[in-house]
Structures are given as structure tokens and as C-alpha cells.
């Protein structure tokens, strides 16, 4: 997993190495300072000249400035490395997501992808910064400090033999017990917040049923349950402070007692300066151990984020360009032969089964069926958004798997059911269909999609800015813009997946009329809930549970398909032509 992430460092290897180098240098200098100060203090006690004091003081200040420079440079290179690393990480994820097929996209929800590219990358970036700045520094400082302590303090450093294992062991134990406890609590905590969210969202339901008191009781119980768990977890962590303090105090007492004994007993070269230095080193050792335990916690916390990022990077697109692809789509004919399809390898049942179908170029085909009858799935096989499991789908007489993907998809204009208009002007959105479309071409497409009428009423016309999510146009307008966008591709096959549901019937009929007159050679496949949208098609398919149960013209189906007849009668008699 780490290897996979590390691959995104790339051009930022040098800043990483520089950071490591300067951090090491900084740590070394910083560990040196207390020992030199100790010497200075000893000499002061023994009486030396002001010049000597100034000289040593000067050296020490220089060392501090050197350490400052090293630290500053390391901070700079580290910022460079971490910002660059996260940039590359985001880029790699985004690139890979762009390669995803529909099947891959279905696996992740879009909001989860957003979180992975933002929050998770942030967490990993923070951890990365921690690692290159502190993960090396802390152990180095620890080793240097211990070394210097033994070097100048001799026996006085023996206290460390007690402190280090006690503190390290203690911190490790705390982390070990606290982490799973916290993880458990956070999960519960998330659930609690989800239930609050449910309440906020469903406040009309809560109030509508006068369930305020019921919700209060439920929440109080859940909150108290979390309090109990959270307290347990926090109590474990709160032992950190006393543990640390015990070690500091122990070192203090140990150094004072043994130090005064050693100095007065004269058994070693220790002097008062060393006592001060030993206290400083002791403190440094403790700080570093604390740092290491913090890193440990940080890393385990960000491991979850790292895992989620790697999932995105590891996901392999399951639709590829063939070798020696075909770069030209001859015409708009479509064929299905013996097609079976299911979304997941492990799915028990085919979502689409046993489809055999021949659509001539230029035909208008209507598809009708209840929710869950797999209408959308069927048409998504045509531009090879999914690959069939069995059988073949052909376009222009050639298996879709033999085409160059872009060639195929450019030849198939598809208006998805869940459609999206992007932020930007209307013109910019329409140019998705054809980057080089002229204003005339754009206007023509809009006329055909019956979108020109309302666009012309906007003060900015084609330069009207669409807000994110298309909130400033109505559902029916959005649908017509999407149709125009697909028309600009000048596709050989045009697929409308329930794309006029919010458009009134008269306009809907107008759009279909236009198709007939202006793009007769384009194959039109129209999925609709409204029977009036498909009634006049050359061929109507009735889909039920992934199978074609009826096939023919309107008149034929009224005779042969019970479902079609039922829907027709229900709509015609029940609600006029409106639905």
C-alpha cells in the first residue's frame, strides 16, 4: 500500500531527500547545544574570563542559528514535497477515475470519490509531512540525546535506562488500548450523527407525527451510550499526562541525588553543569518518545484514508480499447444477438437476458417498461458503457468491442436519465458535444431540441451562466439542453433515456417531429414512461424484468402485449396524454 502511494512522489524526491538531510542536521546540532552549555556553566563556576564566556556563547548562538537555518530549509522543502505529493496523488486519482468505465463508477458513489480526493488526501498529506519531518527527527534526537547524555553524564544517564522502557512501554500500551476503543467510539459517533441528520432532514415527518418527545428520548439514550464508551477511551488516553510526569519527576530526583553524590563524592568528572544538561536531555528524550507515540497514532489514523485512496488507484478499468481498433462507424444500425448481461460477476441473475434484436439505420425505436425492467441497461450496452457477458452487440454491423472507444462513443449520442449540466455558460455546456461547433450549429441543435425558445428569453441568451447543478433552469429546460448537447455530436445513433419526462407533451411531440424531418438517417432510440412519446415509433419494445416481452408497432402491441395494453389504457383513460 505504501509503495503504491510512494509512487506519487515522483519529481518531488529531491525535496524529500533534502528535508531528511536538513532535519537530521538540525537534530544533531540541537542535541549538541546542551552539552556545550554544560561545559560553559562548569567553566563559569570555576571562574573564567568574560572573553571566554563570550566566545563560547557566540559559538552556541551560531549553532542555534545554524540549527534554525537547517530547520527553516527543511520546513520549506517539506512544504514543497508534501504539497507536491498531494498534488500528484490527486492527479493520479483523477486520471484513473477518468479511465473508469460505468462499471467502475458504479462501485464508488460520487460523494465517496469526492471525500477520497479531498479529506483522505489531506489526511495522507498531513501524515506524509509528519513522517518526513518528525519520523526521522524524533528517533534521531532520541539516539543523539541518549548518546550525549551517556557521554557527558556517565552514570547520571542511568536514569534513562528506567525512564525509556517505562515511558515507551506505557505509551505503547495506552496507544494499543486506546486506538481500538476510539475506533469503536467513532463508529458509534458517526451513527449518532447520522441519526441527527435523519432528524434534521425529516423534521417535517417528526413534527407531522408529533414525535418530538420520542426522538428526544431515543437521542438521549444513544448520546449517553456514547458518553460511557467515550469516557472509557478518553480515560485511557488521559493517563498519558501522569505517565509523562512520573518520568520527568523520576529523572529530576535521580539526577539531583546521584548528581550531588557523584560531584561531592568526587568519583567522576561530573560537575554542576552536567546536572543541568542531564535534565535538559531527559526532557528531550521524553518529548521525542511522546512524538513517536503521536506519530504512531497519526499513522494508524491515516492508514484508513490511505487504504481508501489506494482503492481508487488500484481500481482497474474493465473496458479497454481493442488492439487494431476500427476507427469508423459505417451507419447507425444496431444489432443484439443472444445478449445476456449482469452488473456483477457474482450476480445470480442476468439483469438483461436473451436479447435478440435488429435495428436498421435511421429507424425510430421506442422502449417502454416499468421501473427496474432494465431499459437503461439495455441501451447502455450500445456505446459499450458496459460489456455484455454473453452474446454480441453490433453497431454498423461490427461488434462494439472491435471499435476504438472514442470513435464508437462519438457516433452514439446518449442523453442519460440522470443528466448533468455543468457550471458554465449554456454555450460552453453545449460545446461538450462538439468543441468547434459554430454559433449557427449550436442554434440549429437547440432549435431541434426545442431549447431555443427559452434560451432566447434569457437576457444573456447563449451566454447565460448555468449554476452548479443547473439550479437556475427548470427540469424540462435542462432536459432539452441535454438533448441539444447530444445532437451537436451529429451522432449516427441518438439515445434518449427518459429524457423528456419533464417536457410537456406538445413540445415533446415537436422534438420527435423535428427528429423525423431533420435527422432522418440517425437511428433514434427513445426510452419513455409516457406512452405518447413512443406511440409513433417504427418499432416499440416492451421490456419486463430484463426481457423483451413485446415487439412491434403501436397497433401490433395493443393486440399482442398485455402489459403495453394495460399501460396504454391506464394512461389514456386515466390521465389523458399528459402522463
Amino acid at each position: 500500500m505504501l509503495k503504491k502511494l510512494a509512487r506519487s512522489i515522483r519529481e518531488y524526491k529531491l525535496p524529500v531527500l533534502l528535508t531528511l538531510f536538513f532535519i537530521a542536521a538540525e537534530a544533531a546540532i540541537e542535541s549538541l547545544i546542551p552539552s556545550i552549555t554544560a561545559k560553559l556553566v562548569n567553566n563559569i563556576k570555576d571562574g573564567v574570563s568574560v572573553a571566554y564566556i563570550l566566545k563560547t556563547g557566540g559559538i552556541l548562538v551560531l549553532l542555534a542559528i545554524l540549527s534554525l537555518s537547517c530547520g527553516g530549509i527543511a520546513g520549506y522543502t517539506c512544504a514543497k514535497a508534501s504539497a507536491g505529493f498531494s498534488k500528484n496523488l490527486r492527479k493520479d486519482m483523477f486520471r484513473n477515475i477518468q479511465r473508469y468505465s460505468f462499471g467502475n463508477i458504479d462501485k464508488f458513489s460520487s460523494s465517496s470519490l469526492v471525500t477520497r480526493m479531498t479529506t483522505d488526501v489531506n489526511n495522507v498529506q498531513m501524515a506524509f509531512m509528519m513522517i518526513i519531518r518528525i519520523a526521522l527527527r524524533a528517533p534521531l534526537m532520541l539516539i543523539f540525546s541518549i548518546f550525549m547524555a551517556f557521554y557527558i553524564g556517565g552514570k547520571l544517564a542511568l536514569g534513562f535506562v528506567f525512564i525509556i522502557p517505562v515511558l515507551a512501554g506505557g505509551l505503547l500500551l495506552i496507544a494499543k488500548f486506546a486506538m481500538p476503543a476510539f475506533r469503536r467510539v467513532f463508529k458509534k459517533y458517526d451513527r449518532l450523527n447520522e441519526s441527527v441528520e435523519e432528524n434534521v432532514r425529516g423534521m417535517r415527518v417528526v413534527k407531522g407525527f408529533s414525535r418530538e418527545d420520542y426522538e428526544k428520548q431515543k437521542f438521549a439514550a444513544a448520546s449517553d451510550d456514547i458518553r460511557a464508551d467515550f469516557t472509557k477511551a478518553e480515560k485511557i488516553v488521559s493517563l498519558n499526562g501522569p505517565l509523562m510526569q512520573i518520568c520527568i519527576y523520576f529523572n529530576m530526583v535521580f539526577v539531583l541525588t546521584l548528581g550531588s553524590y557523584a560531584i561531592l563524592g568526587g568519583k567522576s568528572s561530573i560537575d554542576v553543569g552536567e546536572i543541568s544538561a542531564m535534565l535538559t536531555y531527559g526532557f528531550q528524550v521524553l518529548m521525542q518518545l511522546m512524538m513517536i507515540s503521536m506519530i504512531y497514532v497519526m499513522l494508524t489514523m491515516s492508514a484508513e484514508s490511505a487504504k481508501r485512496i489506494v482503492e481508487v488507484l488500484d481500481e482497474q478499468p474493465n473496458i479497454h480499447n481493442p488492439e487494431n481498433p476500427v476507427y469508423e462507424v459505417k451507419d447507425g444500425s444496431v444489432g443484439f444477438s443472444g445478449v445476456n448481461f449482469k452488473y456483477s460477476e457474482h450476480g445470480k441473475k442476468f439483469v438483461i437476458s436473451d436479447i435478440n434484436l435488429k435495428i436498421e439505420s435511421g429507424m425510430t425505436v421506442g422502449i417502454i417498461g416499468g421501473t427496474g425492467s432494465s431499459k437503461s441497461t439495455l441501451v447502455q450496452l450500445i456505446p459499450r458503457l458496459y460489456d455484455v457477458n454473453e452474446g454480441t452487440v453490433t453497431v454498423g454491423g461490427i461488434d462494439v468491442r472491435d471499435y476504438d472507444l472514442n470513435t464508437l462513443r462519438n457516433a452514439v449520442g446518449m442523453v442519460l436519465q440522470k443528466n448533468i449540466i455543468f457550471s458554465g455558460t449554456i454555450k460552453e455546456n453545449l460545446r461538450w458535444g462538439n468543441e468547434n461547433a459554430t454559433d449557427e450549429e449550436i442554434a440549429a441543435a437547440c432549435r431541434l431540441a426545442k431549447a431555443d425558445e427559452f434560451i432566447e428569453t434569457f437576457p444573456e441568451k447563449y451566454d447565460t451562466v448555468i449554476e452548479q447543478g443547473g439550479s437556475n433552469v427548470s427540469g424540462g429546460q435542462k432536459q432539452r439542453l441535454c438533448i441539444a448537447r447530444a445532437l451537436l455530436k451529429k451522432p449516427k445513433i441518438l439515445i434518449l433515456d427518459d429524457s423528456t419526462s419533464a417536457v410537456d407533451t406538445r413540445t415533446d411531440a415537436g422534438i420527435r417531429e423535428g427528429f423525423k424531418n431533420y435527422i432522418p438517417e440517425t437511428t433514434k432510440i427513445i426510452i419513455a414512461q409516457r406512452i405518447s412519446s413512443v406511440m409513433d415509433a417504427d418499432l416499440i419494445l416492451v421490456l419486463d424484468d430484463g426481457k423483451i416481452t413485446g415487439k412491434g408497432t403501436h397497433e401490433e402491441l395493443l393486440k399482442t402485449s398485455a402489459i403495453y395494453k394495460e399501460v396504454y389504457e391506464q394512461q389514456i383513460s386515466g390521465g389523458g396524454l399528459n402522463e
Partner: protein, 652 residues
């Protein structure tokens, strides 16, 4: 969880509002009147104890100095002599330490208890308040914004109570006592330390404000990039269909590069701050040693409170004082840094606290209704109140003169000349009058924003009317207790909101005392039983996340069953079947018809087929009823309804 916040120790320009801080502390004390002061005292004692080693260090070293100067004794004799002075010092020190560690352990554990107890109580309090807020609050505040009070703001309060306040108290006491000790020993050395500390604070302020600029720039880039990512992830399938991948990559790279540059600058500044502060500390340490040394060697008379007290003004600085100063310098700067960091954390937490308080202080929904709904039965032809469930309900209406009247609950609803606006000056409803007799089906038709849903919002008093009257069984609805009014109305909304729990739990939400059989009967009535029994665990299937495992149509069916189980005399169906496909709707329709039988029903529907059989159809336009009548009447009229029906207008 974002690294985009300002790093600790950097001024974010936020000011601490003492009022909120006092309110938080007051609240803490009211939740734990004994524990909070106890913990406070413990922290003070521990902080004082942890700053006194300097004194012991100085004393011990002074003893060492004294004996080390004596010549002519062997090492072991010197030690035996010094031991008598040193050991008692150390024993006292150890005793203080042991007490302090015990206190520290106790207060740390208590603090964990207090923090979580406080948060839980605050959460519950906030939730309770929230439940009492009017619908208007939820309509005018973004849900994400309300949610973040439970997540981010409560989290920052956790930091405040468990860390910021104790730390600042602790560090503040240490800084104070160390300062006193420093002044006690030597004014000269104290001045040196102070000079260093001011430089430190100044530098961190300069760097901090420089960095803040870049953090703001970074923040903007983050917003832009996240917005782009969000849009692209949502539109990923459209990108595929249009082969737009390369363009998306290009645009993304541009934003990503900009973000990288800004993040780099912001972090470069922030990263440098740490080493700079630390090394100023180091330099200060060195300067202390140097200045101390010079003072010692040149035998400048030392002045401190101690010398003033003892009167030995001429004595020079001793090594023991220099050494303890060296350690105090570290302690002083370290804790001062802590304080400045915590001040930022406190400012941030208080901003969170203010948002929590804002919610808690919002005006709750008032309920002055005194007419209540009671179980009733007829005795000798007279309606009287009774305790048992009779399936018959009555409005209990106390009058000013002390008399009580009982009106049978029938479901007769009258709106007369109702005016309403959500925002002043933007009238939504004008002169709307609706008469719904018990058992009638009243339909509202009209474009989005015509005011259909608003009418239902007024009947159940989610909002109160501005002018006009609404009467329920002849009683002004303002006199009816809101909870009773609402439980007599069954509501099904277009946006289904199911709660985490089983399907059965969700249906039972409509009537908490309903038995399993009643719930299943309700589901059967509305035609939901079929698909529910086909779910993996039938009625015990867990629904999570608003029932994502169900289709929108199935969710609507459950919410219809939920309303049905309460058996209310009046039902409001606001686009209740909009997501059920026409074929399924035809099946559901039978159940719906059965459900509506004998009830007063208000229906809002996009699909005119659903409202065709209504007793009266009201066509709304811009808050006015422009047509009313039965389907046949309105078709005959050839007005707006006719045009809608024939599909000449879109209902958008």
C-alpha cells in the same frame, strides 16, 4: 479533518468573546458543581508543584557548591556531610511529586468523565431544543450547517474542555509561578528572559500574519478544486458518454497546480515557524548562560526579591541560580508557547460554542393551544371523555367561563381568505379559501411555486397564517394543541424520509402503540405488503441511510403505510406517488383509494391521473386559486386545467 485550518500558535484574527467563555464555564459548573472546582484546584496544585523544582535545583546546587569549595576532605566525608542537607530536600521533593502525580491522575480521569458528560448533556440539550424549533428554522438554515453544530462545533468544544481550558490554566499558573521564582532570584536574569520572550512572540506574530495571507489563498484554491471535483464526480457518466476525459484532466490539472502552489506557500511559512521559535528558545538559553556567566565573573551585585528580603544586596550571582534559570527559561518559553497556542484553540472553540448557543437560543415553536384530542364515547347520546381506546375521538374544548365542550373529530377543514408569505413582502398565498367536508378529496394542481405545498404547511401549522382563518371541525386551529392537531393529520411527503431501523419500525412510527398486525394491515391496505415480504428479511429488513436499499417508489409506499397506520381522519398527500411508475401506481391506486375512503384528503399531484377523481380540484397560480371544480367541470371550462390536462403546458 482538514489541514487547511491555521496551524496552532498562529493568530487567526479571531477574538475571544468572554461572554461565551463564561457561559461555557457556567454550564460546566452547573452540570458538575462539585467536580469542576475540584479538578480546577487539582490543576492549580499540580502546576505549582511542577514549577518548584527550580527552587530545589538551586538549593541542592547551592549545597553542592558550598561543600565543593571546602578542601581537605575526602569525597565520602563530604558526601556524608552534605547528605544531611540534600536528602531532606529530596525527600520533600519526592513527597510533593507523589502528591502531585496522584492528584494529576485523579484529575485526568475526572476530566475525561467531565468532558464526555458535558458533551453528551450539551448534545442532548441541543437536540431537545432543536426538536422544538419551528419548521421555518429548518427551511431557512442549510441542513449541513445545522449538522456541523453536532459534528465540528461539538468537537471543538471537546478540545476546549478536555485540553484548551486545563492547559491554559496549567500553563498560565506555571508561567506565573516561574515568573515569581525568577524575580525571587534575580531581576537581571529575569529581564534577559523577558527580552527573549518578547522577541519570540513578536516573530511568531509577524510570521503568523504573513502565513495567514497564504492560508486564505490556499483556502480559496481548496474551495475551487473541491467544487470542481464534486461536479466532475457527479457528472462522471456524462464525461464518459461525451469522451470528455482529456478536457476534464486538463482543467483539473490547472486547478490542482494552483492549489499545490498555494498550499506550498502556506505550509512553507507555517513549517518555518516551529524551528524559529524553538531556536529563539535555544538562543535565549545560551544568552542566559552567557549573561549569567558574565554577571558572575564580573561579580555584579545580584538583585532579586530574595536579596531584598534578606538584605544581602552586595552578593553576586551564584552558579546555582544560573543553572536553575537555564531550566526555568525552557519551562517559561515552553509554557508561554502553550498559552499562545491554546488562545487560538479557545477562540476557535468559542466560535463553535457560539454556533451551538445560537441554535439553542433560537425561538422555539410556541404552542398556546388548549384544545386537546381525547378518546371519547357516546353515553346516552352524549359525547363524553373516556380513558380507554374507543376508536372515537373528540376535541376537548375548555372555555373561558370554565365550561367544557366536546366536539367529535370529523375532519371538516375550512380555510377562509387566507393570506400568507414566507418572507415579508413576498406574498405566497392570496385570499385562498378551501372548504373540505369530512370524507371529501380535495386536489391542488399548479406549477412549482404556485403555493400548493404551502397550503398544507398551514393546515398542520408548520407555518402560521398572516390573515384569514383556518377551522378544523369548526375550531380555530390556533386554539388546538399542535401535537394533537398534527396527530389527527396523516402526512405523506414527496421527499420520503425513513429512519434507521426495520421496515416494521418505520411503519410503526405513525402510531407507536401499533401491534405488528396493525402495521402489516396498514402495509396491505396501501399495497406495500407485496414488496416488503419479498425483501430479504421481510418486515424485519433493516433500513439504513434513508432506505438506500429500496427504490424511491418503495420508500414512498412505506411512508404511505406509515401515515395509514395512525388511521387519521385527515390525510395530506403531497406528491406521495410521484416516484412510483404508472404501472405500479395503477396497482397502488386501489390501495390508495381504499386508504382515502371516509377520510378528508388533500392531494397534491403532478400526475393529473391521480387527482382526476377528486371531489374538487383547485388550480393554483401564483398563490391564487384560479379555477375550482370537478374534473368534468374544469374540462368543460377549457381553462388552464384543460390545457394542463391536454399537455399544452408543462408543470415545471
Amino acid at each position: 479533518m482538514s489541514n487547511q485550518r491555521l496551524p496552532k500558535g498562529m493568530s487567526s484574527g479571531k477574538k475571544i468573546n468572554p461572554k461565551s467563555l463564561i457561559r461555557v464555564i457556567k454550564m460546566l459548573c452547573s452540570f458538575y458543581p462539585v467536580l469542576v472546582p475540584f479538578v480546577g484546584v487539582c490543576i492549580v496544585i499540580c502546576s505549582v508543584v511542577s514549577s518548584i523544582p527550580a527552587i530545589f535545583l538551586q538549593k541542592t546546587i547551592a549545597v553542592i557548591e558550598k561543600y565543593a569549595k571546602m578542601t581537605g576532605f575526602s569525597g565520602s566525608t563530604l558526601w556524608t556531610m552534605a547528605k544531611k542537607e540534600i536528602l531532606p530536600l529530596i525527600v520533600i521533593l519526592v513527597i510533593l511529586y507523589v502528591i502531585s502525580i496522584i492528584l494529576m491522575t485523579v484529575y485526568s480521569l475526572l476530566l475525561a468523565k467531565i468532558t464526555q458528560g458535558f458533551l453528551s448533556k450539551l448534545r442532548i440539550k441541543m437536540f431537545d431544543k432543536m426538536q422544538n424549533l419551528p419548521i421555518k428554522y429548518f427551511d431557512t438554515n442549510k441542513h449541513g450547517d445545522i449538522m456541523s453544530r453536532y459534528t465540528n462545533d461539538i468537537d471543538t468544544l471537546r478540545q476546549l474542555v478536555s485540553q484548551a481550558i486545563p492547559h491554559i490554566l496549567q500553563s498560565g499558573i506555571i508561567v506565573l509561578s516561574v515568573m515569581i521564582i525568577m524575580l525571587w532570584y534575580s531581576f537581571w536574569m529575569t529581564i534577559v528572559v523577558f527580552a527573549g520572550v518578547f522577541t519570540m512572540l513578536y516573530v511568531s506574530k509577524v510570521i503568523g500574519s504573513g502565513s495567514a495571507k497564504f492560508f486564505i489563498a490556499q483556502q480559496k484554491s481548496v474551495g475551487k478544486t473541491e467544487g470542481y471535483i464534486q461536479e466532475m464526480m457527479n457528472g462522471q457518466k456524462v464525461i464518459k458518454v461525451f469522451c470528455h476525459e482529456d478536457r476534464a484532466n486538463e482543467d483539473f490539472d490547472r486547478l490542482n497546480e494552483e492549489l499545490c502552489q498555494n498550499a506550498f506557500k502556506a505550509h512553507a511559512y507555517a513549517n518555518c515557524l516551529g524551528p524559529i521559535i524553538m531556536n529563539i528558545g535555544n538562543i535565549l538559553y545560551v544568552i542566559c548562560a552567557t549573561v549569567g556567566g558574565i554577571l558572575l565573573v564580573t561579580k555584579v551585585p545580584n538583585i532579586g526579591i530574595s536579596t531584598l528580603v534578606s538584605g544581602s544586596v552586595t552578593a553576586a550571582l551564584s552558579v546555582s541560580i544560573i543553572i536553575s534559570f537555564l531550566n526555568m527559561t525552557k519551562q517559561f518559553t515552553g509554557n508561554l508557547n502553550q498559552v499562545s497556542q491554546q488562545i487560538n484553540a479557545i477562540a476557535m472553540a468559542l466560535a463553535g460554542a457560539e454556533r451551538v448557543f445560537e441554535l439553542m437560543d433560537s425561538e422555539p415553536e410556541d404552542d398556546n393551544g388548549y384544545v386537546t384530542l381525547v378518546n371519547a364515547k357516546y353515553e346516552n347520546g352524549e359525547l363524553i371523555e373516556c380513558a380507554e381506546q374507543t376508536g372515537r375521538w373528540a376535541w376537548k374544548h375548555p372555555h373561558g367561563d370554565g365550561t367544557l365542550t366536546y366536539t367529535p373529530l370529523a375532519g371538516d377543514i375550512v380555510l377562509k381568505d387566507v393570506d400568507f408569505s414566507y418572507v415579508e413582502g413576498k406574498q405566497v398565498l392570496r385570499n385562498v379559501s378551501v372548504y373540505a367536508k369530512p370524507g371529501q378529496k380535495v386536489a391542488f394542481v399548479g406549477a412549482t411555486g404556485a403555493g400548493k405545498t404551502t397550503i398544507t404547511n398551514l393546515i398542520n401549522r408548520f407555518y402560521d397564517i398572516e390573515d384569514g382563518k383556518i377551522r378544523y371541525d369548526g375550531i380555530n386551529i390556533n386554539k388546538i394543541k399542535k401535537s394533537d392537531l398534527r396527530s389527527s393529520l396523516g402526512i405523506v411527503l414527496q421527499e420520503t424520509n425513513l429512519f434507521t431501523g426495520t421496515v416494521m419500525d418505520n411503519i410503526r412510527y405513525g402510531k407507536l402503540t401499533a401491534s405488528d398486525e396493525e402495521c402489516i394491515a396498514a402495509a396491505k391496505l396501501v399495497g406495500a405488503d407485496g414488496f416488503i415480504t419479498r425483501l430479504p428479511d421481510g418486515y424485519n429488513t433493516m433500513l439504513t441511510n434513508n432506505g438506500t436499499n429500496l427504490s424511491q417508489g418503495q420508500r414512498q409506499l412505506i411512508s404511505i403505510a406509515r401515515a395509514a397506520v395512525g388511521n387519521p381522519p385527515v390525510m395530506i398527500l403531497d406528491e406521495a406517488t410521484s416516484s412510483i411508475d404508472t404501472r405500479t401506481e395503477a396497482i397502488v391506486q386501489r390501495g390508495m383509494d381504499k386508504l382515502m375512503e371516509g377520510r378528508t384528503v388533500f392531494v397534491i399531484a403532478h400526475r393529473l391521473s391521480t387527482v382526476k377523481n377528486a371531489d374538487v380540484i383547485m388550480v393554483l397560480e401564483k398563490g391564487k386559486i384560479i379555477e375550482r371544480g370537478t374534473h368534468a367541470d374544469l374540462i368543460k371550462e377549457k381553462g388552464t386545467y384543460y390545457q394542463l390536462y391536454t399537455g399544452a403546458f408543462e408543470l415545471e
